[in-house]
Symmetry: D3
Subunit: 190 residues, 6 copies
């Protein structure tokens, strides 16, 4: 897998020049994150696809939710560890380190989430995400009920399911297209 | 799992009344499909989430692509069969029956895609989608190269990866939330 | 896999002419079912094998038992769904639709039996059949005891075990020989 | 699991007295084998079931075939090793030791068939039986073609498939009912 | 896999002549066991490796422990059965037969340890060893607590873990190098 | 899992005072590594066990071999990633970062070794170690031959097998005993 300037192993150049709104969005990324994440560059060969992706991503990961942003990133990393997705583990591992201020937490979620020192409620959330990842067809009402019993609302369950679902999509797209994480992530927040 | 009026096992009532644009969209669904698919009703407790879902769905399944609409539905069914997702097998099985005019093709893809009488190119596409579903981390350049050799462009590979990825998300969300398919699908296009 | 006149992918022509008793049996099939099921044609290259198969089949599926004929067909479909056997899912899916008068029940058992609206006793029976299919060596006394607790007799347990066992044989023989289901099944009892 | 006089964990006493023909058959077993195999006693609560079982067993394992009796027993043991079936490994392990005169061959097939010193043709046969056992739905024409290329006829393929299928049934019935092998097998032909 | 004079499939001749201490150790083996176990010959191309192996082996299997020697051999066989290691099943199956005086116990542990008539405490020990073998990362405090509750001390848990770990190493080395068990084991203690 | 002063979840205090030779060894660890690795403290409740462990470890990882020390650490990390062993991924991930001077290489081997930019020979070595970890019983002569063809000697194959085997032991012991990595590793060599 190459580490050249391409965000994936597919030859799909970005629209050039980018539409003004997209360019502005990318400029904000550079300003705030120090880079344009490669997943955005990878989608930028087609602006409708890029917009659909960012709309769903932003709604899931940044909009109001009973789950904190860190908890959503925790789900992202744990799902990605089950799927062994290099791109997502690098990018979202950095996010967990940043949002938690706890580099070891990021490592634990990447390596074996069972050793992580999380709350019982968070553990139930992660176990549900893992079951969704490994054998979603086996999820039944008692699995949802267990989440309710530790304090999650039905809306929270929707959010857990959709964040876990989203990374089951992203992990597979990243691996299938040979998506490459930006170098900047590796040393961040260690 | 109940078959009452709820689209999922979660208590998340639709926004009431629906915004005008959403109501219009649902009216078109009834006109064209004879129903509002439950996945849309399930998302309609939050219009931003509904819009993000439909934008991505429409782009993937209906926008221009080197893959025909039938081929995209074939991927949907085969991925859903690996994940044993009742909702998606019912809804997209019906779509395969409709678009192909071949009820048996729908059954084969639901039951064991290997017996389906598809082209070699389509078989390679489905095998790639299955590998993405079962062990995405094992996909490497030779897997993509094999798709190129049977005639897929890099853009086609992107589309295969994203359609297969999308149903790995949808299958899991449907199973995790107890999503229930509309009754209308069962008897359609037999 | 061909859809020509052959019941399997093997070149094993039926005894010609068939012995009188066999011909009579096949005539009754046509009269009652509108066809001779391909599994019978497949065995008819050797009348001893055909007779051994039909004797066991008839005893298991049609003789007296604490399990109803529908329940035995439910086991057939669920075991076949775990084994992804196209022949048996088509043939016995039709049987479930016929005996239950509920086309959706057939679909559910084909796609993900956990969503089917069956009694708790039937669910225990199907879970036992699934465990037998996936990891029979892990079955121990508590698994049998659980069946007794929901109301099955030891004779019923024998029948559950033997029906589930039989389809674990038939599924594998059908897939291994490329057995092809009769076209007539697909549209039946929808 | 008890080692009392019962052939299984189910309370299903033999018909008493046995019909004359059955008693005669059991007497022959004692004369030839030194025992009545417990699988026969287990079925003897119902003579129709016993007869159906013995008819199929005798046809598969003893009737004319392109496969030798030893080769059929080799399939029995290898399938049973994948399914970890104690009853069948004990009974058919003894049969391999007897028919081959090679105690080590029996052990190898029980423990890891890949180390056994069999012919290339036999290895292909065993690999096919193992694929049938582990993932029968993945068997396609090239798998059958491979058997033809090493010298098996279509009739031989039928026999391989049916013997392997039969032990996938028997293994599961034995484990599900807690069937216990006769003590006599253990020390035989060491 | 050859059955010639080589202990493995690798061309790694023993140091010749062996150092005096090693020769003495091998002489004792012949005297006590009637052979030099092939695992020792396999390591004897490098005396440091041989000594490291025997030091660890002797400490684990022969030194003082809350586990009896038979119990340690029981773990060896059960772990080896999960890993289908021919070498270790032959060698340690013989050891179980010898130490227990119960040939059937050896067979049961080789074939399906769940049918073996062991104490509840031993069953818990074997279940822990199996979980370590199949999915060690899923072991958490409740698994250890369960061992304590049936009477194992923390030191015993260390010993169970290290014996089970050791055979997960040995099984893999034996299979990876094509290690061949001494013929003498097969007929011993039947 | 606690992060207190204990190296594992078992209550097994170190011999106190340590024998002079052990204390010296631990002092050297502190001097060279800045810490005594917890795996050594964990074994130090029994000096024979500690010595057996360190003798085998030092021979495998530090003695002369056709494999470089980095290559041996690469095997350690990849095996540990398959087994999801937190302790070993932390400790040996740091070692890969140190020996390679390439922090990203460490991450790749932890997350999905297939994306790592290693030589073809190293990839063959890692694939062999992974096959040993996942299904060692399926390794046969062609697997060894493939290693020879990319340039490994039979002695190298022994070393690959034994290093991969060793971490299949260590991973399981670490997970089974709740072994906790020293904090110092996390920030090293980033």
């Amino acid at each position: 897998m190459s580490e050249d300037n391409q965000p994936t192993a597919l030859d799909l150049p970005m629209v050039d020049p980018l539409p003004e709104a997209t360019q502005k969005y990318f400029d904000i990324c550079v300003e705030k994150l120090g880079m344009v994440p490669n997943v955005l560059k990878a989608n930028a060969f087609n602006i409708e696809k890029l917009n659909a992706f960012t709309a769903m991503y932003n709604d899931l990961m940044l909009a109001d939710s009973g789950l904190s942003k860190l908890e959503r990133e925790m789900i992202a990393v744990v799902v990605s560890s089950i799927n062994s997705c290099y791109y997502c583990l690098v990018a979202h591992g950095a996010a967990v380190r940043q949002l938690s201020g706890d580099p070891k937490l990021g490592e634990m979620l990447v390596m074996n989430y069972r050793v992580a020192n999380v709350t019982g409620k968070q553990r139930a959330m992660l176990d549900f995400a893992v079951k969704m990842t490994k054998e979603s067809a086996a999820i039944e009402e008692p699995d949802r009920q267990l989440l309710r019993e530790v304090g999650f609302s039905d809306r929270d369950i929707w959010d857990i399911a959709n964040v876990a679902g989203f990374y089951n999509m992203s992990n597979r797209v990243a691996s299938a297209t040979g998506m490459w994480p930006n170098d900047e992530y590796h040393a961040q927040f260690r």
